[in-house]
C-alpha cells in the first residue's frame, strides 16, 4: 500500500515539476483529455482493484458459523478497554490485548456505557461497541509484534486517549505470555 501511494505521489510530482520547468509541456493533450485521464481513468485503475481486494479480504475474515477460532472479549467503557479471555479461564487484561499470530481470532466487542468503536488499523476491520449487544469481529495478525488500537467512535471528552496496545505473540508462546501479563497486572493491583 505504501509502495503504491509512493508511486502515485511520484507520478503527480513529476507531472507538476514538468509543468513548472517546461511551460507548455502537455499542451498537445487537450484539457478535457487530462481531466478524463486524471479524474476518471487513473482513479478507476487504482480504486477498482482495491475494491476487489478489500471485498475478497473482507469475505475471508467474515465470522462464518462452523469455524471456531479463539475468542477474546473486548469491553469498552469511558475511556478504557478491558480484555477477557474465555478460552483461558478468568484471565483479564486492561489496556493491552494479547493474541496469537497466524490464526483468526474472534473479538466479541461490547460496551458498559456509551457507544465506542473497536479498531486496530494495522489489522483492518472496525466495529461498534454497543451497550447491551455483542458484536463479533474476526481479525488475524500474520506477524508477532506490537500494534496500536484506538476507539474510533466519539465517546466523550477523553475519547482521543481511549487507546490500547495489541501484543501479538508466537502461537506456542501465547498462553504463557498471557498468563504472565495477567499475573503482572494482578500483582500491580496489590
Amino acid at each position: 500500500m505504501l509502495a503504491g501511494s509512493a508511486i502515485l505521489f511520484l507520478l503527480v510530482m513529476t507531472l507538476f515539476v514538468l509543468v513548472i520547468r517546461r511551460p507548455g509541456w502537455g499542451s498537445s493533450v487537450s484539457p478535457e483529455r487530462w481531466l478524463v485521464l486524471g479524474g476518471l481513468v487513473l482513479p478507476a485503475v487504482v480504486l477498482l482493484p482495491l475494491i476487489a481486494y478489500a471485498m475478497i479480504a473482507g469475505e475471508r475474515l467474515l465470522p462464518l458459523p462452523g469455524q471456531a477460532p479463539a475468542r477474546i472479549e473486548a469491553i469498552g467503557r469511558q475511556w478504557a478497554w478491558t480484555f477477557r479471555y474465555p478460552d483461558h479461564g478468568a484471565t483479564e487484561t486492561k489496556g493491552v490485548l494479547h493474541m496469537p499470530a497466524g490464526a483468526p481470532v474472534d473479538i466479541l466487542v461490547s460496551s458498559q456505557d456509551v457507544i465506542h468503536a473497536f479498531w486496530i488499523p494495522r489489522l483492518a476491520g472496525k466495529i461498534d461497541a454497543v451497550p447491551g449487544h455483542v458484536n463479533r469481529l474476526r481479525i488475524q495478525a500474520d506477524q508477532p509484534g506490537r500494534y496500536a488500537g484506538q476507539c474510533s467512535e466519539f465517546c466523550g471528552l477523553d475519547h482521543a486517549s481511549m487507546r490500547f496496545d495489541v501484543v501479538v505473540h508466537r502461537p506456542e508462546e501465547f498462553s504463557a505470555a498471557l498468563a504472565r501479563a495477567a499475573a503482572s497486572e494482578g500483582s500491580q493491583k496489590k
Binding site: L48, I51, A52, M55, G58, P63
Partner: protein, 112 residues
C-alpha cells in the same frame, strides 16, 4: 436574442441521479437486513436484491435517456446548456456508482 433564464426549479434535476442512488442503497440495505433477520433462503434473498438493483438501474437509464433528449425546460443559452450537460453527467455518474458500489456485494456472503 436574449438568453431565456433557467427556471430555478430545474436545478433539482442535479440531485435526481444520486437521489435514485440513495434509494437503491437504502432499499438494498433494508432487503438484506429483513432477509437475514427472517432467515430467507440465500437464493430468494439474492433474487430480491438483484431485482431491486435492476429496477433502480432501469430508472437511472430511463432518466438518462429522457434527459439526454432534453425534455425538461432548461432554458436557452449557455447556462441552460451547461445545466443540461451537468444533469446528464450526474445521471451517468450515479448509474456507474450504483453498479460499482451496489453490484459486487450481491456476489458476497449475504448473511452470517
Amino acid at each position: 436574442m436574449r438568453e431565456r433564464p433557467v427556471p430555478s426549479r430545474q436545478l433539482w434535476w442535479l440531485a435526481a441521479g444520486f437521489t435514485v442512488w440513495c434509494s437503491a442503497l437504502v432499499v438494498l440495505y433494508a432487503i438484506q437486513g429483513i432477509g437475514c433477520a427472517f432467515a430467507w433462503p440465500t437464493g430468494t434473498l439474492r433474487l430480491w436484491l438483484a431485482v431491486a438493483l435492476l429496477v433502480h438501474l432501469i430508472v437511472l437509464g430511463w432518466m438518462w435517456r429522457d434527459i439526454a433528449r432534453a425534455s425538461p425546460d432548461f432554458g436557452s443559452g449557455p447556462t441552460g446548456a451547461l445545466l443540461h450537460w451537468a444533469v446528464v453527467a450526474t445521471l451517468i455518474t450515479a448509474l456507474v456508482a450504483t453498479v460499482i458500489t451496489l453490484g459486487p456485494p450481491l456476489l458476497l456472503t449475504a448473511c452470517i
